[in-house]
Amino acid sequence: MQNQQLKQLIEALLFVADAPLTVAQLCDYLLEQGRDSSRKQVREVLDELEQDYRERGVQLQLVASGYRFQTRAELGGIIAGLWQEKPPRYSQALLETLALIAYRQPITRGDIEEIRGVSVSTQIMKTLQERGWVKVVGHREVPGRPQLYATTNEFLDYFNLTDLAELPAIPEPPAKTINAETAPKESESTQ
């Protein structure tokens, strides 16, 4: 397949796909269409595209679930003003809960409550799950088997991240004093 055509095709696919596309997905797709291309080739095309769009109004962005085109960050405010009703604002309580899950996952509701000193509102957990940012990944094997929460790829996509490691760093959880029988140790080990 000619390189120019491969590039046009990948570009077009990214612009019309309903979700971000990974290199693997692109390769599979091209193969299905009888256009066998190596990952290296596809990756090169993506690099070129990223370069081509660097100064444009839309840009190629890699997020957790793959590559997607999105508007330049500087334009967000203007565009939001035009046809979003209002960009969503999240409450401090929601952000803290989300931050705890993001930075200290996997984590139970009890852990969250302990650190925030407030009971976690069911509404917040529901919102986080409905947005697809947070999911239950298991249970802690203690009495009551509380659910363990973790963040999802959609969370990363929404915040323009490819990986949890890209989250800006915060201080490590301080060492526990005796008696405090709960969480962070476990979260550290799985992190």
Binding site: A99, V118, A180
Partner: protein, 276 residues
């Protein structure tokens, strides 16, 4: 609890009114315009947040946690909250109790032997505050990250590709058809309790073909139904088809005079247009 109950009792002059409720006292070393007070109180996301605020306001490190003044100030806020936002109070009261407990433990003289081992009663709270502060930082990082729908928008281009989608039609294997037929007939067998005879397919096909021809030509010459190339079997099939069609009252066979040309036509046709 009776904050909602306008109290006739004698009181000091209120500082102001928040949600119609008089605010009598102001926190020490702090003056907040009363209408801003509620906003401020609401802006705390919980007791840890308030506590952290009180410590930071004094430009202190968390580890220093001056338990006496902090507890006092905390209580003042909680009292205000009790008046303004009852539903918030529970979590704040738990913290108040904890502060009070720490305070009392710090005031207790320690037995000298235990002095070394004894953990600072503030230690656990300090740890929680540190962790909470880290998380608050995380929350503000999240808030600052570019977000979809706020800072950037996922874009899309139109495509005519969907017009190219060939509607994939379901496939059927020939064997499936036979099985379906057998199934339908077995079903019929069960229902009707009578034998369904297998018919010669080619006869059935010929019947269809004859009827089809009659769709376009009103009348067919009987002789035209027979094609020499088909051989004897073909003739037999066509003949059987005609007989079957007559039997099923689908066609009429008309011969005007003896030995004249035989014509066939669909039944309706005969009635509609009597042959000459």
């Amino acid at each position: 609890m009776d904050a909602s109950n306008p109290s006739p009792q004698q009181q000091s002059l209120p500082l102001g009114f928040v949600r119609g409720e008089p605010v009598i006292e102001k926190p020490e070393d702090l003056y907040i315009p009363p209408d801003a007070l509620e906003l401020i109180l609401e802006s705390f996301s919980g007791p840890m947040d308030l506590l952290l605020y009180l410590i930071r306001r004094q430009k202190l490190e968390i580890t220093e946690l001056p338990i006496l003044p902090i507890t006092k100030q905390y209580m003042e806020y909680v009292d205000m909250m009790k008046e303004l936002k009852l539903e918030l109070a529970a979590d704040y009261l738990v913290m108040a109790a904890m502060l009070a407990e720490i305070k009392s433990r710090m005031l207790l003289p320690r037995p000298p032997a235990e002095e070394d081992d004894e953990v600072d009663p503030r230690a656990e709270l300090v740890r929680r505050l540190q962790e909470y502060e880290a998380i608050r930082q995380g929350a503000s990082h999240l808030d600052e990250l570019p977000q979809s729908g706020r800072d950037h928008f996922v874009v899309h281009a139109e495509t005519d590709a969907k017009e190219h989608i060939q509607q994939q039609l379901p496939d059927i294997a020939l064997a499936e058809l036979a099985v379906a037929f057998a199934h339908a007939m077995a079903q019929a067998e069960l229902q009707h309790h009578h034998q369904v005879q297998r018919e010669k397919l080619s006869t059935r096909e010929r019947m269809s073909r004859i009827l089809d021809m009659l769709q376009t030509q009103q009348r067919l010459r009987f002789a035209d139904l027979f094609v020499a190339a088909e051989g004897k079997q073909g003739v037999v099939v066509s003949f059987l088809a005609v007989l079957e069609l007559v039997k099923e009252a689908l066609i009429d066979v008309v011969q005007v005079d003896a030995f004249s040309e035989i014509h066939i036509s669909t039944r309706g046709q005969v009635y509609a247009e009597p042959t000459a």
